[in-house]
């Protein structure tokens, strides 16, 4: 599968040509070739291996602990109370408007500025379909999720409006800082939007190949939170270039230490050009409920709503009702959510560091740690399990087989410069959205099996 080429105006046209989807032909022979290419997924192999070995799964980005009881109860009550037909629950918009005011000092009209969707996924898709034309360029920060790119490239049937060039703006390791130069040089006359993937620089794995993976792994590989200064640079560029900013803020309540979630929409002159997307999923540990939203100025929200109505028409009714209960959770809920995740993060960092991984930066948010392989760990010989297998995968495989812990290879989150393959191949991503029991068990196994 082709990867996005490095950013640069001159290459944008080439990128678009290369990203042009193959013509969808109904003859099975041609299509199955493409689908064979898709199926060679290292993550799929890992997933199956992890299952076979009964490994502890620190790869999946969703919790193995239960959702808050009051939220589940609200959903159960809604089903029992016959709230099961098509609904639009306006109360969600009212509550979200209050939160926007409280958290970001932003005024949104609950009657017109919110679109309730089937998850942040749909909110994002509807936003893209509503705002992006054929030939438009969209800036996305790297490391990011490659499979968003794949979705768009390989979804050849999706209208030309979506055959956009995704221009990747590499962030600088080891702290994944915004390189202002690289960023500014990525803009062209065709740039339509900048995507702030999960305001914590995260995007989700949404590709077809992940549909074969046993679990869905949205992720933020680096756990980075953009600083205010970085957001100001991005904002200034958006204003100057008259671009939209599309944000994914699903981890808005899972930020750590002194890092408060700051939405770019709250910066000067950004509200009118920002579309915020988010969901209940991470905040309330209900990733499978599919309740998300887009929040934007009225005219844009209206366009997004029109698209949404054609895509799914409405979000699951009982969970919309439960969202009312969730969004009315007291402040203590949010503070203990954060505290619990901080504890888990610190526990995992300690464990990883003590067995030799290098955690260059403590994640500032989200539920993932991006760690570099222990120095003493030599990459295994490259074994060609399949053409798509990368060398680093051998470490992850060993981790599963010997230590009984599953993680995600970091290579898949990078794009662009292939000379850096060795460097990029040394990262592994661990999730800590797991119960204390799970993390303790992982700790025991790692200590006994990995190390000097």
């Amino acid at each position: 599968m082709s990867r996005a080429i490095p950013s640069g105006p001159g290459q944008a046209a080439n990128a678009q040509a290369r990203l042009k989807a193959p013509a969808i032909d109904k003859m099975e022979a041609k299509l199955s070739k493409a689908s064979r290419a898709l199926n060679a997924s290292p993550i799929q192999e890992i997933s199956h291996l992890a299952q076979r070995c009964g490994a502890i799964n620190l790869a999946e980005g969703f919790p193995d602990f239960p959702a808050p009881p009051q939220v589940k109860h609200a959903a159960v009550a809604a089903i029992a109370a016959d709230l099961n037909q098509y609904r639009h629950v306006q109360g969600i918009c009212d509550l979200l408007a209050v939160k926007m005011k409280q958290n970001h000092v932003l005024d949104f009209d609950p009657l017109t500025d919110f679109v309730i969707c089937c998850g942040q996924s749909e909110a994002f898709a509807a936003t893209i379909l509503a705002t992006i034309d054929q030939g438009d360029e969209v800036l996305i920060f790297d490391p990011a999720y490659e499979t968003y790119e794949s979705c768009i490239i390989l979804a050849g049937g999706i209208p030309l409006e979506l055959r956009i060039s995704q221009v990747y703006v590499p962030l600088d390791p080891p702290y994944w800082t915004l390189n202002v130069d690289k960023f500014m040089r990525s803009f062209t006359g065709r740039t339509k939007a900048v995507v702030l993937n999960r305001s914590l620089n995260e995007e989700k794995i949404g590709c077809i190949k992940e549909t074969n993976y046993n679990s869905y792994s949205p992720h933020n590989p680096t756990g980075k939170v953009f600083s205010k200064e970085e957001l100001e640079v991005i904002a200034a560029a958006c204003c100057q270039m008259d671009c939209l900013a599309i944000t994914d803020e699903v981890y808005e309540y899972i930020t750590f230490d002194t890092h408060k979630h700051l939405s770019i929409a709250s910066l000067p002159m950004m509200k009118e050009r920002t579309i915020i997307t988010s969901s209940l999923s991470k905040t309330f540990s209900v990733t499978g409920w599919r309740i998300g939203w887009a929040c934007a100025p009225t005219a844009i929200a209206s366009a997004i709503r029109n698209i949404h109505i054609k895509i799914t028409d409405s979000a699951p009714a009982p969970f919309q009702e439960a969202a009312l209960a969730a969004l009315q959770s007291p402040p203590e809920y949010f503070s203990s959510l954060k505290a619990d995740y901080v504890a888990r993060r610190d526990f995992l960092i300690k464990m990883l560091s003590e067995v030799g991984f290098q955690v260059h930066n403590k994640p500032q948010g989200s539920v993932f740690i991006f760690a570099e392989l222990p120095k003493t760990c030599l990459l295994c010989d490259v074994s060609e399990l399949s053409p798509a297998t990368f060398p680093f995968i051998d470490f992850v495989k060993e981790l599963i087989e010997k230590a009984g812990v599953a993680a995600v290879p970091g290579r898949g989150f990078f794009h662009g410069d292939c000379n850096d393959l060795t460097q990029q191949s040394r990262y592994v991503r661990f999730a800590f959205c797991k119960s204390n029991d799970t993390l303790s068990a992982a700790d025991q196994k790692m200590r006994s099996c990995v190390g000097k």
Partner: protein, 448 residues
């Protein structure tokens, strides 16, 4: 002609609210549907917060305008009518969803799933148990054996299945044939995909497919034909002869079929036939369905598509972008629902037949010309005996003076003129509601 706008989709049946009066306006709107340019920013000379470094930005492009279509959005006819209905306390036989609830055993299954913690992401193309249940049901209904892992995909309702089918398999410029009157999301989504739409109209009294016209419209350039059977809004069911003609046209010209069969269990006067089961058709058909209508749980948003692997591939591409995965607890409940015994379906039909009888008799007694409806929970009638100019003025009168809501059908046609004498009633309401509505109409409607 007022354009539609959905500034506040207060009605749950949002899809029925989002219709345009004029087909030509619609097409121009749809082409621009993904264009949103920001209004000029008056302070374009300022740069906002200054960047950390001394970076020279390229000269700014000229300011852009808000898309014209957004400026023109007005409240739709349906939003207006809904508001009127509430204001006048009208009985709503317009909305296409029940005012009674789904079966306990399915609701309990969802509640169990939630309590058991099945609240995290499901596999993108469906919870395995549901994929299997769908495959089993499909085998029972059509005789076709399909692979649940490779040929079944679960979506957020049939609406998403339609969107994923069209966005996943239709390229801009592709010709697609529709039968009018059609469910509004077909046209909207086809326009989003840049398709060239051709429609063949089904006319009263029996809404039969005009086979000669169809043969003249379908050519080698046709990419797909969309079928909805049993058919909303007419209640027509495509019969074997019609399907065989469509099939032979498809095979001869190498055309795909997208078939929406959400009302397949509400087949009253005829046998439901899935075109995928005809010889040579499975390999070129996407068969779509959902939980909502069969189990009176329209708000759960569980739908699916069954298609051969080479079509499923394109479908799943689009699906993975659109919503990625579908609500987990509801999928578990759906797998229980689909294994319901035959008695469930028999009782469902009996109940709906009783409701239909109340409505049809009442509509006839009130003076409508009632067209026979073989399936779905809709009935199409001709309102012209009451002397109104068109379907919309009639429906407005029906709300304000009679106290009943029906849907004007002109919005379901490419050419609205074709529908102006027809309105659609639904009988997916409890019997008390139906009787009350019928009484009002008998009392207050007067022929002119």
């Amino acid at each position: 002609m007022p354009l539609l706008s959905l500034a506040n989709p207060s009605s749950p049946a949002g899809h029925e609210m989002l219709l345009l009066r004029s087909a030509s306006v619609f097409r121009s709107v749809s082409r621009r549907i993904s264009t949103v340019r920001m209004a000029a920013i008056s302070t374009s000379g300022e740069k906002g917060a200054s960047p950390a470094g001394q970076v020279q930005l390229p000269p700014s492009p000229p300011p852009v305008q808000v898309a014209k279509r957004l400026e023109n959005f007005k409240t739709t006819i349906f939003t207006q009518m809904s508001l009127l209905a509430i204001k006048h306390g009208a009985i709503n036989l317009g909305q296409g969803f029940p005012n009674f609830d789904g079966p306990e055993f399915v609701k309990e299954a969802a509640i169990e799933a939630i309590k058991e913690g099945k609240n995290q992401y499901a596999r993108g193309y469906g919870v395995p148990e549901l994929n299997s249940a769908i495959a089993e049901r499909f085998k029972k209904d059509t005789g076709l054996q399909v692979n649940p892992e490779k040929e079944v995909t679960v979506t957020s309702g049939c609406t998403e299945a339609i969107a994923a089918t069209i966005l996943g398999l239709i390229n801009p410029g592709d010709e697609v044939v529709l039968f009018a009157p059609f469910y509004d999301s077909y046209l909207a989504t086809l326009s989003m995909a840049g398709a060239e739409v051709k429609s063949v109209t089904l006319c009263p009294p029996d809404f039969a497919v005009p086979l000669d016209e169809l043969k003249s419209v379908v050519t080698k350039k046709t990419r797909a034909i969309m079928i909805n059977t049993p058919h909303n809004p007419t209640g027509k069911m495509f019969n074997r002869e019609e399907l065989e003609v469509i099939a032979s046209l498809c095979i001869e010209n190498d055309i795909l079929v997208f078939t929406d069969e959400v009302y397949d269990k509400l087949a009253f006067e005829a046998e439901h036939i899935s075109i995928a089961s005809l010889p040579g058709m499975y390999e070129r058909t996407v068969t779509m369905n959902s939980l909502g209508k069969t189990f009176s749980l329209t708000g759960w948003k569980i739908g699916w598509a069954v298609a051969p692997p080479h079509l499923t591939w394109g479908f799943r591409q689009a699906h993975s972008f659109l919503t990625f995965s579908t609500s987990t607890p509801m999928q578990w409940a759906a797998s229980v629902a689909l294994r319901a015994p035959d008695t469930y379906y028999e009782e469902l039909k009996r109940d709906y037949l009783a409701k239909k009888a109340i409505l049809v008799e009442g509509l006839k007694a009130a003076g409508f010309i009632v067209y026979p409806s073989s399936g779905t929970y809709f009935v199409m009638v001709d309102h012209t005996p009451f002397g109104f100019e068109n379907d919309i003025t009639f429906c407005e009168y029906l709300i304000t003076e009679v106290g009943v809501v029906a849907i004007p059908t002109s919005v379901f046609y490419l050419n609205p003129e074709e529908g102006k004498s027809l309105v659609r009633f639904t009988f997916c309401k409890d019997e008390h509601t139906l009787r009350a509505a019928v009484e009002r109409m008998k009392e207050r409607l007067h022929k002119r």
